[in-house]
């Protein structure tokens, strides 16, 4: 056929050859001037497909939150308008032009945010228990994140469509696969927070609970519990967020309180937390290191580092590796098994770097949803 096509095109003088030549020249000219526009249109189509998917996730997040509030909270009125108001909530970070004291300012703003969220949930679900309220708060936060993702991607999509500027379209198109991965992770969190199922981030509190092994605990800071165990002649103080409702607590405050209470007796501080794995690493791999293993905006990390530095306590860390898709999704088997390995790792660190009679603090960092103490 291509041979025939070649013959046709070579016969310039024929009627059909002339038409085809004109068509090819026209196509070349069109492509020369409109190639970028065609590329932009193709990318916009792909963004549109993803946007529809994100919208479904956002809507599901909102519906799950409304249904859970109705189930647990037994409100007198339909909570939908309150949920819609909640998912539009925002936080303005403090100005950092003068960095002195910015952590305290951020901490203060975050405290107000937490207080506001708790009050909103109490109003929406008056009959819910404390654990259920904590889970509902986390569920609403997941819905809020899904809503924000949807609005940001829609913003770039509409802006790209309006201007047909390839650079605006490309900005969102390039990072779309990563964003979709994050959105899928947050949509998996809806099931976990609605039902109170442990999530990937709960590995730290699970390790802490396994170390405590039923030892009595008491409240040491906001939503933070601590208990003591004896291990190979060492006194080990274990702290974690108060479960089983979804909460990360204030580990910085708890550690600061415990270190100061012990008045220089603490010889070692170990933090256990979930950590992002690199591609190629196995889910549930354990890694040991130094420093404070804690995520978030940095306020709690600052408090831990400050308490450790002021009291000259060495900081050790145990990380349990997991993918972005595992962090807020219901806990997978590999991570559940990894908690046993992490317990062994913590015990190994204690034996290697402390002596009999020493006091050690172990903090299980993360969301304690579905994990008791």
């Amino acid at each position: 056929m291509f041979q025939l096509l070649g013959q046709v095109l070579q016969q310039q003088d024929s009627e059909i050859g002339m038409i085809l030549n004109t068509l090819f020249s026209l196509a070349f000219i069109v492509y020369l001037f409109y190639a970028q526009k065609i590329q932009g249109m193709t990318m916009l189509r792909q963004i549109e497909v993803s946007l529809r998917k994100i919208k479904r996730y956002r809507d599901k997040g909102k519906n799950v939150a409304v249904e859970a509030i109705k189930d647990y909270g037994k409100p007198e009125q339909d909570p939908t308008p309150q949920v819609e108001r909640f998912i539009e909530h925002f936080m303005i970070e403090p100005v950092s032009m003068d960095p002195a004291g910015v952590v305290q300012k951020l901490g203060s703003i975050m405290n107000v945010r937490e207080f506001t969220f708790k009050q909103e949930v109490v109003r929406m679900a008056p009959e819910a228990t404390e654990s259920q309220r904590n889970n509902l708060e986390n569920l609403l936060e997941a819905s809020l994140v899904l809503n924000q993702f949807y609005k940001i991607i829609r913003h770039y999509y509409l802006m790209g469509k309006k201007t047909m500027n390839i650079y605006i379209i490309m900005q969102i198109h390039m990072i779309l696969p990563m964003i979709i991965k994050q959105i899928e992770a947050y949509s998996a969190a809806l099931q976990a927070f609605r039902d109170g199922i442990p999530i990937g981030d709960s590995v730290g509190p699970i390790v802490a609970s396994k170390l405590l092994n039923g030892a009595p605990t008491k409240l040491v800071a906001t939503e933070m519990m601590a208990g003591e165990i004896e291990f190979e002649g060492r006194r080990v103080i274990v702290t974690k967020a108060q479960g089983p409702g979804g909460s990360v607590g204030k580990p910085g405050d708890a550690i600061d309180f415990l270190v100061n209470r012990e008045e220089g007796k603490v010889k070692m501080l170990i933090t256990v937390d979930a950590a992002g794995k690199l591609e190629g690493e196995e889910v549930g791999e354990i890694a040991e290191g130094v420093g404070a293993a804690i995520g978030g905006p940095g306020v709690e990390k600052y408090k831990i580092e400050k308490a450790a530095t002021e009291n000259n306590v060495p900081l050790y860390a145990v990380a349990i590796k997991q993918g972005m898709e595992h962090v807020v999704a219901p806990l997978v088997e590999e991570l559940m098994e990894a908690t046993d390995k992490a317990v062994s790792s913590v015990k190994g660190l204690i034996l290697d770097y402390s002596e009999e009679g020493d006091t050690i603090i172990v903090a299980g960092i993360g969301n304690t949803v579905g994990v008791g103490q």
């Binding site: 056929m1 025939l4 096509l5 013959q7 046709v8 009627e15 059909i16 085809l20 068509l23 249109m41 193709t42 189509r45 792909q46 549109e48 497909v49 993803s50 529809r52 998917k53 479904r56 996730y57 809507d59 599901k60 779309l176 696969p177 979709i180 991965k181 899928e184 949509s187 998996a188 809806l190 099931q191 039902d195 109170g196 199922i197 442990p198 699970i206 609970s209 039923g214 479960g243 089983p244 591609e279 196995e282 889910v283 993918g323 999704a329 219901p330 806990l331 997978v332 088997e333 991570l335 559940m336 579905g370 994990v371 008791g372 103490q373």
Partner: protein, 137 residues
């Protein structure tokens, strides 16, 4: 799941009916072009022109579908929920029982009396059941 939806030609290729139709139209268009050039070679100008017109129109229609067809996706109901299981163990006789997760379960909850001894069974694990279709990372 995500990657396939944002891949090339995401909108049009999501719908298998559209895709099948496009393959059929493409095949017809290709055959028409072949017939057109063959007829041209034989000197049947009018027939050749008709066939080539049909062929070109077919390819134009396919291109148009890629850009204008309404995107359809596989999942219309949003994300799927995973199956979660609870493992209970008796600390006295080590009896182990696995059942479906029930709201209210949490790790280290003393849940129900042991069926083999006098002890209370404790929830030791709660985890999502592995999807057999899930590929390894």
């Amino acid at each position: 799941m995500a990657d396939s939806d944002v891949g090339p030609l995401a909108g049009a290729t999501q719908n298998w009916t559209t895709l099948a139709l496009m393959v059929v139209v493409g095949a017809i268009a290709l055959a028409s072009l072949y017939m057109g050039f063959t007829n041209y070679g034989e000197g049947n100008m009018e027939t050749a022109f008709m066939y080539i017109l049909i062929g070109v129109s077919g390819f134009v229609a396919i291109g148009f579908t890629f850009f204008k067809a309404k995107p359809a996706t596989k999942t219309q109901d949003g994300p799927k929920e995973v199956e979660v299981v609870t493992t209970l163990e008796c600390p006295q006789c080590n009896l182990k029982r696995v059942r479906a997760f029930q709201p209210g379960d949490y790790i280290f909850k003393k849940d129900e009396p042991c069926t083999r001894c006098e002890g209370m069974m404790t929830v030791t694990r709660i985890n999502a059941r592995k999807d057999p279709k899930e590929k390894k990372d």
